[in-house]
Amino acid sequence: MRAGAWLVLGGAVAGFLGVLGLHRPASSSALAGGTVTQGPGTQGPGTQGPGTQGPGTQGPGPTASPGRTTTAAGPPGTVTGPVVNYGYGELATRVAISGSRITGVSVPVIRVAEQFSQELADRAIPVLRHEVLAAQSAHIQAVSGATYTSEAYAQSVQAALDKAHFK
């Protein structure tokens, strides 16, 4: 259970990086076709259990160092990831989960290099949330990626596409 929760968080952190990455010329050309999308029901299951919420330390603040694996606890129904150094600074993400759906993403810990500001992070996160919650719109019939297991298939965008076809 615990591992599953961290996988979800890893994805959220990377999603944030992806948002920052939109400013790269290479990325934006590859993404030019409206290629960032989201299938319904494709988020990881709500796998957080009692063990995944750290002891109540505190909210935002420069308290954890890179490589540390725990940080501030969030409200019930949320899972907070480790503080990670993502190259431009340090951040942790907190994901709110309802049932099997991610209902919100926030950044309780962020320390950025001077060219990136909290304001940028505040702008970036709603974009990420939009991506997380948006319905699929890329008009694709399949997703290519590293081979998933039979178990992982159930959570994949491909499964959502397959399901959408049975009507």
Binding site: T35, V143, S144, T147, V157
Partner: protein, 254 residues
Amino acid sequence: MNQDGLVTHAEPVMGTVVSFALHPGELPGPDLRTALQAACAVLQDADRVFSTWDPGSPLSLLRRGAPGSAPPPVMAEVEAACRRARDASGGWFDPWAMPGGYDPTGLVKGWAVGKALRTLDQAGIPAALVNGGGDLAAFGMPGPGRCWRAGIRHPWRASGLAAVIEVHGAVATSASYERGAHLVDPRTGRPGCRAASATVTGPSLAQADALATGLAVGGDAALEVIGGLAGYQAYLIRPDGTESWTPGMQFATG
């Protein structure tokens, strides 16, 4: 059948799920089902022969050097395809450099899915796409004036896409984000990966599958090799998130 008129099917096999999207055209329902069953039988047969999990599979016996029954003819077919892919990749894909001896796993799934797709073509289905757990191939057109489109999964966000490409033939992606550090660098014999995501397109899914494995291991060096192959294109996302692709890579627009 969905709103696009496509019939879908999901077949659990080879430790993953293989997804089918078929355009039935005028083909009667029973013929469609028969064709689909034949395609699935191809996959199940390949699983039996090339399973590395089943100690009694012909591949496992071959790897152990166990005496006894002669390997089935498809074994030689796959071995020949592996040799072609090893040469084409400049050695970045090398089933003979794997720990524990010859291991064609990096090519077998693509080979089997490609074979299943040809079964559908031969049965008279006008258009089909088969996705073997992330490695896919298609023929025909899903609708008038439309071509098949595939998303490339975002390496760090399972439900996001890094890009969308038009599918003309085969698309294979290799990375370590799903099944962990399974990629072995043939030059060291140790786990090694120089890509967050490595995609190869081309006419043969067997070759694309193997080349994607080589691209993931070799990174930029392998991208250059694949760029020189006729009919094949590559799209690399490096571990730091930067990207590169060969000039002919057909990203979808709009």
